[in-house]
Symmetry: C2
Subunit: 295 residues, 2 copies
């Protein structure tokens, strides 16, 4: 199937499920759901859940075992955007071309909408693993329940203090602040930037790629190849962002060296997909898409 | 054992485990852990995790199967306090006699410290269930892994949009705002207040009580008695708060009627504990402690 068509098929599945997982609620606290839905269903590229579904397909897995995890990761991504946009953080009035959450619902509701999305993600994953574990008992097949549990733990680690939130605190403190905590004098500026992005955006992208593989029960070799793939595209994604915005890596390395680095990461990403043969077509193109996107 | 002595034994176990679960970290993002630990380890009555351990003991369960859940609930409670204290929310400069989190670390770090605690709670519970599930395979005993999963789902629901966060949004909007969403015209002011507290503080107190029972595999009768007990003490806890502060229920009902309501809830709580016989001694006293505390 054509890449763009496949991409929108994935996005359609994701939008439908997000809408299903977080319906409007006719309850006294309904405004909370409105605020959560406002940001969750406001479009966006959905790259993280698309990665999960595409890896699942590449491994001939069952998308219905993975979709709720994919959507939970998108909920976590969305909550981080809502909190990032707050006046105390980046103070952004717009997100995806629309007024940011706190501009519409107020700061207090935006804080709670973010909290609610993070919480809902774990609610959804817990329920998904319970379902898997029940299916497991009926079918007596492998240990899909345990795989699901480990996948949820991976997401928790990736989104937590040792992952995304850790990266955000470095980002708001400035990478110069790194030296305050440990002896980072020996780290180059670029190594500090790498560390920050590995946590802030890299960890959750890696989780998006590894979760479907863990659920499918992939062996160490495949997990390791997919980890390499996800690290390459995670960093490529960030460098492309910086090329579009002119800061971060571009400020440190200049445009030309940044572009060379981007190209080399995309090639590296494809090499990590060799073991998956023809099945890797979509993900190979996805890596190229990340490098060539214009927003 | 003497009630106060037993209470402090529980608190000691909880403090040790909280400190163990969230150690200081010599990493670039170390300031995040400092901010999380500042609020998590700043004392407090630890009523929620004490409830979990006490119910576990009452049911002759193993405290080591429950302690990580108890600590996760306390992390969730602490994150909610950090976010509640923010300028955009209640704007409180002090908490437990110390400057609130954002007064020490700044608003941005306080938002992230709250996010980090919520996330860590689910990280800790996922790991705990994985351990249970592995133990389960070795011992071939019952379905403690599945019980753990369902307990985690219960905590997620209690802390989420349909629980604590839902209650918080009503609290900041004012209970008068309830009518905006559904036809609440028929609800009395007191029913609206009940609804808000059932979500904001009741749901997580209920989870603290039910989690150890679910892990112990209690039957429906016992779960239902414990649900009744937790609802009674949850509401009693709130009314006592209002008696100490002079608002909420006291503003609506006056001091005398509030005190009568409090007494009747405490008696009701004890009745729900009858099925547990002599084992219920500590929890019966705990109900009295909630009603008689002075802060």
């Amino acid at each position: 199937m054509d890449f763009n068509k496949q991409y929108s098929t994935y996005v359609d599945i994701i939008e439908t499920e997000l809408n299903h997982l977080l319906p409007e609620q006719n309850v006294p606290e309904g405004i909370l759901y409105k605020a959560m839905r406002y940001s969750l269903l406001s479009g966006g590229k959905r790259i993280r859940p698309v990665l999960s579904l595409a890896v699942c397909d590449m491994l001939n897995g069952n998308i219905f075992d993975v979709i709720d995890f994919a959507c939970s990761i998108e909920m976590i991504h969305t909550y981080s955007l809502i909190h990032d946009d707050l006046p105390a953080m980046d103070n952004d009035d717009y997100r995806r071309g629309k007024p940011s959450n706190h501009k519409v619902f107020g700061e207090a509701a935006a804080i709670l909408a973010g909290d609610g999305l993070l919480n809902t993600a774990f609610e959804v994953m817990s329920r998904a693993v319970i379902k898997m574990s029940e299916k497991n008992e009926k079918q007596l097949n492998s240990d899909i329940g345990t795989n699901g549990l480990k996948a949820m733990e991976l997401v928790a680690k990736a989104s937590g203090a040792g992952g995304m939130i850790g990266g955000q605190i470095i980002d708001i403190s400035g990478i110069g602040a790194l030296g305050n905590q440990i002896d980072t004098a020996k780290l180059s500026e670029i190594e500090k930037l790498d560390h920050m992005h590995m946590l802030k955006t890299g960890a959750i992208i890696k989780a998006s790629v590894l979760v479907p593989a863990m659920i499918a029960g992939s062996d160490e070799n495949r997990l390791s190849a997919l980890a390499g793939f996800s690290e390459s595209i995670g960093l490529a994604f960030q460098i492309k962002d910086d090329i579009l915005d002119g800061d971060g890596y571009v400020a440190l390395l200049g445009v030309d060296r940044s572009k060379t680095m981007l190209d080399s990461l995309i090639s590296k990403a494809s090499v990590f997909l060799y073991p998956f043969g023809e099945n890797a077509g979509f993900l190979t193109q996805l890596a190229g898409y990340i490098a060539n996107r214009s927003a």
